[in-house]
Symmetry: C2
Subunit: 363 residues, 2 copies
C-alpha cells in the first residue's frame, strides 16, 4: 500500500480486450492497439500508460485487467508488476456488461467494500493531473454508493460518441446525469455543443462492486445469476472451467445500455483533461506535433510540397520522402505498408477484412 493510498478500497478495472483493427498494420491480432505506443511522444503502450497514470490512486495489486484469452499472456508480459491473477481472460468478447460484472465479482470476493473505477485501455489523456482529480471525485461519489460516470466537456460537434445530459449539481463538481443520449447526427451534435449541458460519454465508470453487482442482478438477471455461479465455482476452484464453458452464453451488451441507462440514478463527474479516444490513424495525426504544413512525420523526413500527411515508420534509420502529396496516412512496418487518405482512415477495416478473407498471416 503506497503512502498516497487515500482510497484503500479503490480498485481499477482496465478493459483491454480490443482488437484494434483500425490501427493495422501496427496493430495485429496478437498485438492490438492497447499494447502499442500509439500516443505521440509517449513510448509506452496505451495499456502501460493507463496503469502508470492511475498509480497515484491504486497500486498494481489492486488493478485488474480484463482481456481476451488470446491476449492474456501478452497483457501480463506488458504489465509484469501486476499479479498474474489480476489478468482476467475472457474466452470470448461479450461487450462490457459481462466484463465489468465479472471484474466486480472478483473485486468483491477480495474486498467486500471494494470500489471500482472502470477504465478503457485505449484512451489518451493530455492532462494527467486534471484526470486524476476527476478520478478522485468519481471514487468519492461511488464510495457513497452511487453509480458514477465521467462526462467529457465536448470540444467539437462530434457525431461518433454518445452523450450525457447533465442535471443539477449534487456535490462538488458532481452532477446528476439526466439521461444517456445515443450518437447524434450532426445537427443535434451542434445543438448539444451550443447547449453546454451535454457531455461525451467517456466509458469511464465508478461504483462499489456490490452496488454494480446488485444493479446487474436487477437489470440483467441472467448475467447476475451466471456471475453468482462463477463466484460459487471459484470457491471450489472450478471458476475457470465454468467460465470457459459458459462465457459465450452471456448477454453481449454494454454496461451503459444494460445497466447505467436503466438505473434510477447515475451521477456524472464532468471533466476536461485533454481526453482523446485513440480511434484511428486520423486521431494519431491530430494528436501529433505538426510542421508548418500540417505534416506529422518522423523528424528526419524529407518533403517537397507535402501537406497534412501523417507517417509512422517502425524501422529505425529509415527515411520517409514525400513529394506533392497531401493528407495521406502512411504506416510502414516490417511486413506491411499502408497508404490511404486521412479522411478514409476507417477503411483500414476493409484491408484487414481482405487479408483475413485470404487467410493472410499479416493481420
Amino acid at each position: 500500500m503506497s503512502e498516497n493510498d487515500v482510497f484503500p478500497n479503490a480498485w481499477a478495472v482496465i478493459m483491454a480486450g480490443g482488437s484494434g483493427t483500425r490501427f493495422w498494420p501496427a496493430s495485429r491480432r496478437q498485438r492490438p492497439k492497447q499494447l502499442l505506443p500509439l500516443a505521440p511522444g509517449d513510448d509506452r503502450s496505451l495499456l502501460r500508460a493507463t496503469l502508470e497514470r492511475i498509480a497515484p490512486l491504486v497500486p498494481p495489486e489492486r488493478v485488474l485487467v480484463v482481456t481476451s484469452a488470446a491476449l492474456a499472456d501478452a497483457t501480463a508480459a506488458e504489465l509484469p508488476e501486476l499479479p498474474r491473477a489480476n489478468v482476467l481472460a475472457e474466452p470470448t468478447g461479450r461487450n462490457t456488461a459481462p466484463c465489468v460484472g465479472w471484474a466486480a465479482s472478483h473485486v468483491r470476493r477480495r474486498d467486500p467494500n471494494g470500489v471500482l473505477m472502470v477504465l478503457p485501455a485505449d484512451h489518451h489523456i493530455g492532462e494527467p493531473d486534471a484526470y486524476l482529480a476527476v478520478l478522485r471525485r468519481g471514487l468519492e461519489a461511488a464510495s457513497r454508493g452511487a453509480l458514477v460516470t465521467v462526462g467529457i466537456e465536448p470540444t467539437r460537434p462530434e457525431t461518433g460518441y454518445g452523450y450525457l445530459e447533465v442535471g443539477e449539481e449534487v456535490g462538488d463538481q458532481v452532477h446528476r446525469a439526466r439521461r444517456f443520449v445515443e450518437k447524434p447526427n450532426r445537427q443535434r451534435a451542434e445543438q448539444f455543443l451550443a447547449a453546454g449541458n451535454f457531455l461525451w460519454n467517456s466509458g469511464v465508470f465508478f461504483f462499489r462492486a456490490s452496488v454494480i453487482l446488485d444493479a446487474i442482478a436487477t437489470h440483467l438477471p441472467g448475467l447476475g445469476q451466471q456471475l453468482q455461479a462463477y463466484e460459487l465455482a471459484a470457491a471450489n476452484g472450478g471458476e475457470h472451467a465454468l467460465v470457459e464453458k459458459t462465457y459465450a452464453t452471456l448477454p453481449s451488451i454494454s454496461i451503459d445500455h444494460g445497466v447505467m441507462e436503466k438505473a434510477d440514478e447515475v451521477l456524472v463527474v464532468p471533466g476536461s483533461f485533454g481526453w482523446s479516444d485513440l480511434g484511428s490513424w486520423t486521431t494519431s495525426w491530430e494528436l501529433a506535433e505538426h510542421d508548418e504544413s500540417g505534416n506529422a512525420l518522423p523528424a528526419d523526413a524529407v518533403i517537397v510540397d507535402a501537406k497534412g500527411n501523417f507517417a509512422s515508420v517502425e524501422k529505425t534509420g529509415k527515411v520517409v520522402a514525400l513529394v506533392g502529396v497531401s493528407d495521406l496516412v502512411v504506416v510502414d512496418t516490417e511486413d506491411a505498408l499502408l497508404i490511404l487518405p486521412r479522411s478514409r482512415a476507417q477503411d483500414v477495416r476493409a484491408i484487414v477484412d481482405a487479408l483475413k478473407a485470404r487467410d493472410d498471416e499479416r493481420v
Copy 2:
C-alpha cells in the same frame, strides 16, 4: 569465339556511368540504376541484361564497359565473365565524346579493324530479336566505314528526346541521316510524328574504331590529341596515371554534338523493338503489367478504390495496402520510403538534393 561469331571484329562499348538519381531510393550513389533490375519482369540488372542481349553478336571478351572509377568494382562484380581490363574507369564523367573516344582507342589497340557498337546500359528492349537484327545492320554498315546511328520509330509526340530526320535509303533498311534535331516542343513533336520521317535518336552508334578516332581528330582535335597521348602512355604502362591526371580536362561534350552532327555523312538504321529509355519511376509503371485499375503493384498487394498506382517493395513478404489513392509512385527499400504522384517522378531529384545537402548517407 562463339560459333555465331559472324562479326569477328565487332566490339561492344557499354556506357554505364550513370548515377540514376531519378530511381532513388532504389538507386544510390554506389548502386545506380544500371546495376539494378529495373525492367519489370526481369530480375537481371539493366547492365547484365544489356550484356546478355548482345551475346549472339559479341562474346564478353569483346565487350568494354565504361563507368566511373567509384563504380568500377561493382560493375566488374556484376559482370564476372568480363575480363577485368575490359572495365574502363573514368576518373570523372565528361559526357559521351571522351568516353566513346577512349573506348575506341582501346579497341583499336587490340584490334586495328575493330568495329564498335556503342550501347547505353539503361535501355529496356521489349523485342530482343528485332533489336539484334538492327544491330547486325548497323555493324554491317559501320564495317564499310560509315558512322551509323539507330533511330527509333516514334510511338508518341515525345518532347524528351532528340530526333533524326531520315533521308534516302542507301542499303537494306539503312538510310542517310539528313540531320540531327534537338528536343522539340510539343507542336513540333506532333509534326515529326505525323511526318513519319523523324526518328528518336537512341544513343546507339556504330563505327570502326579508326573511323571514329579520325572523326574525333577532325572535329574535336583537343580530345583527339589527348587520346593519342593515352595510347602512347599505354605503351609504357603509363596510361592510368595520365588518365587520372588529365581526364577532367577533356571537353565535356556528347558524341552526338561533338562529332556525329558535324560529320559529312551519318547513316541511320530505323528500328522498332519495344525500346524504352528507363528514365524515371513513371517509365517503370508504364512498362509493368497493370491490373484492371491501372495499378502496377506486387502480386499480393491489397487495394480498395486505388487506381493507376505503382509500388515497388524491396523486402520479400511485405504486403502493400492502398485505399483510395490514385496515380502514386511508392518505392520502399530497407532504409527509405518514397511516395509521390506519378506525374512528379522527375522531382525525386529534389529529394536526393535535400539528402545530399544535409550529408545524409541514404543517397
